[in-house]
Homo-oligomer: 179 residues x 2
């Protein structure tokens, strides 16, 4: 069965930062699953709509291979939800691949999982990341262990290239060896 | 030098059908180049903006490995431009990979390059494709020779998967054999 990848999303998400990873993961054979607070229809900053597949409260994070946190104004809503923060900690703490772009790292700040990590973000929240203990770098895709962060929609090609490498490496680690 | 891939675009392009292929080709190491009638700033149906790199009149199609025709209301404008139609015929007639999605096939109709080809499109222009001599099929990515067509944004993963296969096969045909 193909691996499921979880997205944590609220309204006013940066549409391309939701749909590029969503379609790209489908293209690579994964099953993207979108969770929101109420499981209803989400509307992006640019008006694209998508029905959530599940709610933050119903997500069992151990069923997912990795986590994606798109940007826009969505992360300022998602970070207020305690279930979303618990889910986020689960992925970081078990060392599963985590990808956050633009304002997505705001969720990692609220989850308390940025200290000592090399990270980037939208430049407007750069100082918040640094204040939370992250080591800020200005790069199109900054990888630290199993976490990759990017700055803006134009970084999406590098962001997804780096994230797919993390997914491929994680799949090799958990594969059952052939006998 | 990486291969350049040409996009023919006008205002009110379906944003995801421009940006998903654009970023996806960058991720795969190609150089996407956007041409428009006047070479100015393009605005998508959902408000995303992108500066064109060149004009239809200035394009030398022989410098490009392949052609992408995104949908939305853009193709109804592009198909009125005689330079854009000449460019389109150049790619089809030399057998270079051509990818058209949603309303993108309208440009192929006006260029007179649909007769006898298995194709799909947005369902609202299905009858126009059939009337122009195409063999209409309802599929997420319909490949006929070096042409791939798709119906809508949700087909983008299959569309780009199929187009990248065509690009890879074309690169092998034109590669200089190792000695």
């Amino acid at each position: 069965m193909p691996d499921k990848i979880l997205f944590l999303v609220a309204d006013d998400v940066e549409d391309l930062e939701l749909f590029y990873p969503y379609y790209r993961l489908k293209e690579a054979g994964f099953v993207p699953v979108v969770a929101s607070a109420d499981g209803g229809t989400l509307t992006g900053k640019h008006g694209y709509r998508l029905s959530a597949d599940t709610t933050f409260a119903d997500v069992k994070p151990e069923e997912y291979a990795a986590l994606v946190l798109p940007g826009g104004k969505s992360p300022e809503r998602v970070r207020l939800d305690q279930d979303a923060l618990k889910i986020t900690r689960h992925f970081v703490d078990r060392g599963a691949p985590v990808a956050a772009i633009c304002h997505g790292p705001q969720i990692l700040i609220s989850a308390g999982r940025t200290k000592g990590r090399k990270m980037t973000s939208w430049n407007g929240i750069r100082d918040d990341l640094a204040a939370s203990g992250a080591i800020y770098e200005d790069g199109e895709a900054v990888t630290d262990g199993n976490m990759v962060t990017s700055r803006r929609p134009g970084d999406l090609p590098a962001f997804m290239g780096a994230f797919l490498k993390l997914l491929s490496a994680a799949a090799k680690r958990t594969a059952v060896p052939a006998r």
